[in-house]
Every structure is written in C-alpha cells, then in structure tokens.
Amino acid sequence: MSAPLLELDDLKKYFPVSTGALWRRKTGSVKAVDGVDLAIYPGETLGLIGESGCGKTTTSKLILLQEPPTGGNIRYEGENISGLEGRALMRYRREVQVVFQDPYSSLSPRMRVGDIIAEPLEIHTSLTRAARAQRVAEVLELVGLQPEVARLFPHEFSGGQRQRIAIARALATDTRLIVLDEPVSALDVSIRAQIMNQLEHLQETLGVSYLFIGHDLATVAHISDRIAVMYLGQIVELADSLELCARPLHPYTQALFTAALPSHPDQRHEKLKITGEVPSALDPPAGCRFHTRCPHAMPRCACEAPVRKEVAARHRVACHLY
C-alpha cells in the first residue's frame, strides 16, 4: 500500500468549560476528540460514522485547520501540518477542501455561482480572469451542471444542484482530499443517489480522496472503502467497509447495525440491546467509554480503557472482548 495522504496521530481537542458569572474559572473541559488515530490513503474514501456529539465534526475542523489541536499531530504527505507556514500552508489549504451538510447556508446568496467557484482560484492561483472562467466551466461540467449556470445566483437552484455547486467549488483547485461533512443528509431521497453516484464517479476520474462523515450507516457503508466508528471522541472500530458490515465486532458498532433501519419489511430484526443515551463528553465514563451502555460490560471495562488491536486483517477494534 502506498504512503498515506493524511495521517492523524493521537489527535486531541479539548474545549475548556468555565463557570461563574464574574470571575470565570475553568472548571473542566469537553473532550470532543480524545486520541484519534486515522490514515487516509490517496484515492480512497474513509467513512467516519458516529452519533451527534461524538466528535466527527470537530475532527474535520482540526483537519481543515479551523481549530488548533490540544494534542497530537496531523501529517499531510508525511509532513506535520502544525508547522506549515507560507507557501506550504497555502498548498495544504488548496489541496484539502470541504463540502458541508447544508448547501443553503454554505453558498453566499450574494455571489454568482461562477464567482463562488472562482474564489478559491483567485486566492490560490495566478490564473487570468479568462482562465479562471475556463476552469469554472470545466468543474461545473465535471459535477454535471451546464457551464452557463455560472452567471446565476444560488437561490435559483434546488438543494441537490447547490450541493453540486459546493462540490464544484471544492474541486476547483486541484484538490486531493475533500472532507464531506454529511453531504447528503439535507437532500431529498431521490437526489441523494444522484449526489452519491456523482461523488463516486468524480473519485474514479480524478483520484481524489474523501473523508465521508455521516450518521447513516447504509449511506456511509455504500460509499466508503474503510469505515471508522467513533464514540465519544474515540475511534472504537476501524475496518474495510464490507468486512465491517459482515462482522461488526465492537458492541457499539453492533448496536449501530441493529439500530439501522431494514431495507425490506421481511428482514429479520433483533431488538436493540443498548439503552440510554450518549453520556456527556464533559465527564466521560472512566475505562471504556461505552461500558455504561454496553450489554457485555465486565468489571474490567469500568476501570481500564481498552487499546485498539488488530483482530483480523485490516480490522481493528478497541474492546476488552477481543
């Protein structure tokens, strides 16, 4: 296997929490991301799945340099990005782009589509105005829109088309990695399949890597090569997509599969074993963070945090059962 494009190494992000009206004191911290190790390889899709509040979006913000990490490293092509400056930093920002969940708020209503897509080009390249227009037309065609739409405003498009525009903007600058933060959750059912197919097609033609963040298991499993399951700031299981679907090992992953909706009414359905809700990240349980909801919890789980180990080829899980 080739060298990873992006590596996260024991990445941590704690948000301080302060209380008191006048003399605010730091009383604790929300451990949004707490020791995440991941690698994304060129041309692959890594799915990141978890419930709300598990740290998916914070992870993406750390990758996009929107937040400085509290600890740990992010390496891009082997180079630590926290030390990047000047041209090297610009190059990283150019090659790592993002598509957000809601295409209604991620596109400026005051700018024409052509200007929205050309903006990263203005910042990152020295192309002439005509060359930029040429590139805008190219990427619009790549995402399945007519080049003529460049002079329209975002409000003239439906949700699916807007999401295509957001993807076009992310692709404009010879992008190598796109962070897709729930890119289809806000779209209609019939449009979701269009966007998913488009994303897969773009990856085949351009060889771009995706970090696909989502909460819908079937969607993430469909598009991803590998899946990382996240729970309260930590990766609990990491495996190839088909392997994970066939053999989910971590009790939390198993619960996610049980909770997934059937694709057919005849599909046999077992009852969900886990109860309760995700504990607060302000005060996460000691030991294994899932032990408060886990049907297989043992005394050991409450005091000792499990380490991730490889239990099968390319299948790693953090659980004392294995």
Partner: protein, 333 residues
C-alpha cells in the same frame, strides 16, 4: 367493518394573495385506514404529505383551503366541522406528533402540566388520578423514574426523551388515531430505533391507528402495514408494504426503492434524474413523466387513472393500462 378513517378525493389548494396563482398541494388523495393499522405516507419534500395530514386535523394555514373531497373519521365528516367542533376531536380522537420536539413543547411549563393537559380537558381526569395517569403515560414511553421526571422542564431532557414526551402528550387524550409527521428526523440512529420500538409497543397494546409521514423507506419497512407513495400532490401507488417492497408497479416507487443504499452492498444506486416538480407549474399528463425512465408519448398528454393490481393495491400509471402504446399512437393518427 367500516374503516376508521376514509379520505376520498381530497383536494387542498394554496391560493396566492388575490387568488391569481393556485398551488395544488393535495390533488385527489384517497386512502382508508382501519383501527390499529399503520399506514406510511412516503414522498419527497413538497409532495403534499404534510398538507394531507393538516387537512385531516383541520389545521391548515389560512392560505390553504380544502376545495374538494371528504375526510370521514369514525363515521363523521370532518371537512364540514366548525373550528369549535374540531377542537373537541383533536387531542381526544386524533392526535399529532410533529417533527421538532423542542418546538412542540412549551419551555415554560413542566412536563407534568403538558402531559396532563389533554387528559384534563378531554377525559376530565382530576387530582391524584391525573397524577397517576401522567406517570403511567411517561412510563409507557419509557421515561425512567416518571414521578420525578414529570416535575422537570423540557430543557432538562435530551432530544430523544423530549420526543417521547411528545408521544405521551399525544396519547394522553386517549385518541384512536395518531398522525406522526417525520417524528424521528432529528434523532440519532440508536435513539431513533429506541423511539420506534416504543411507538410500536404502544400501538400493539392500545390498538391506536397510525399515519406515519416520512421520506425514509426504512422506517416504513419497519413500522407500517401499508404504504402510500405520494408524488406532486397525488398518491401514485398504495398497497401492502410487503408487496410494494417486493414488486412495486409504479416507476416512481421502483426508483425510490432503488435509490436507497442497502447495508453491506456496493451495488450502484439508481438515481432518479431531474428534480421534484414545482407544484405551481406541474407538467401535463402524469406529473412524473419528465423523470420517468419508461415514459411514453401518452404520459405527457393524459393523466393516468388508478389501476387496481390486487386487493388494496393500486397504482397510477399508463404502463398498467391494458392498452399498448402502439394502439394509442395509431388511434391518434
């Protein structure tokens, strides 16, 4: 046995100021629901699912009017009722669960007050038995330690718990029918699964009929006996869930089922081309024909009739008509 709810040829239109533009949000919707049955109303946003439900309970916004058809509930015609009479039906006979639990709960009143209100007004329960009733309802929706929890306020509960409280409010008046409009859209997957199981248990115990409005076919597969697929204000296909999932007849139903990813399969998804239509400017003939892979010239010209496929199973498509395309073309020529 007469059905609990019979909606026939319901037409609800929105009128622009001055009446120059009409949006036919619901245009000839018919379905029936027996006691204890669950029907799933499926469709994309803007297809008229919610307007259908609001027409049933008489909560339409002022721009909308029922212009035709009827809603018969337990032998009574609802479209002709006065607001005063409808208020006695809502909560007592028909209850509604809305999408956003935070918006359906009043942040200034305790959980107890809000769950007790329908029981107080519609069932005239008072005092200690009211307190008991509320505790029972909260226990039914699996709220732990209901006696202490009912003194709390909505902000002290998590999203999943709030939505279950809304479910308890819906049941408090002892209705025969609950209309749930996308009740789990804002919930996490494990919370959604818990909520759906609670809802299913309650329904089996109490025999309440359910209308489940959703765009998620997985929920329909899990929860419903029958499903009705809506497109552009009309039901294009309805029938037993099992039959439709196995062998849908309408191209739109087939396309919807094909566009949902299946767990553990990497098969390419079927993408429906184009966009859902704008209800103010509907295509002629069958509204789905511009996006339909099997469209014929006839589809653009004429609206198809409902064709009966089996008992309780109808679809609205020219493909199901005995007449073939060639014959139609020659007849025109």
């Amino acid at each position: 046995m007469a059905p609990l709810l019979r909606v026939s040829k319901l037409q609800t239109h929105y009128f622009s100021f001055g009446g120059s533009r009409v949006v036919k949000a619901v245009d000839g919707v018919s379905f029936t629901l027996r006691e204890g049955e669950t029907i799933g109303l499926v469709g994309e946003s803007g297809c008229g699912k919610t307007t259908t439900c609001l027409s049933i309970v008489g909560l339409l916004p002022s721009a909308a009017r029922i212009v035709g058809g009827s809603v018969e509930f337990a032998g009574e015609e609802l479209t002709q009722k006065r607001p005063r009479e409808m208020r006695r039906i809502r909560g007592r006979q028909i209850a509604m669960i809305l999408q956003d639990p935070m918006a359906s709960l009043n942040p200034l009143f305790s959980i107890y007050t809000q769950v007790a209100e329908p029981a107080y007004y519609h069932r005239a329960i008072r005092g200690r038995s009211l307190r008991q009733r509320v505790a029972e309802l909260l226990r039914a929706v699996r709220i732990p330690s209901p006696a202490t929890r009912m003194r709390e306020y909505p902000h002290q509960m998590s999203g999943g718990m709030r939505q279950r409280v809304v479910g308890a409010i819906a049941m408090a008046g002892g209705p025969k029918l609950i209309i749930a409009d996308e009740p789990t859209t804002n919930l996490d997957v494990t919370i959604q699964a818990q909520y759906l199981e609670v809802l299913k248990d309650i329904q089996q115990e109490s025999g309440i009929a359910l209308i489940f409005v959703t765009h998620n076919l997985g929920i329909v597969a899990k929860m419903c006996d029958r499903m009705a697929v809506m497109y552009a204000g009309q039901i294009v296909e309805q029938g037993p869930v099992r039959h439709l999932f196995r062998d849908a007849k309408h191209p739109y139903t087939q396309a919807l089922l094909g566009s949902v990813p299946k767990l553990g399969s990497k098969e390419p998804l079927f993408a429906i081309p184009g966009q859902p239509p704008n209800l103010a400017y509907l295509p002629t003939g069958c509204a789905f024909h511009p996006r339909c892979p099997n469209a014929m010239s006839r589809c653009a010209a004429q609206e198809p009739e409902n064709a009966l496929i089996a008992a309780n199973w109808t679809a609205k498509c020219w493909l199901l008509d005995g007449q073939t395309e060639e014959r139609y073309v020659s007849a025109v020529a």
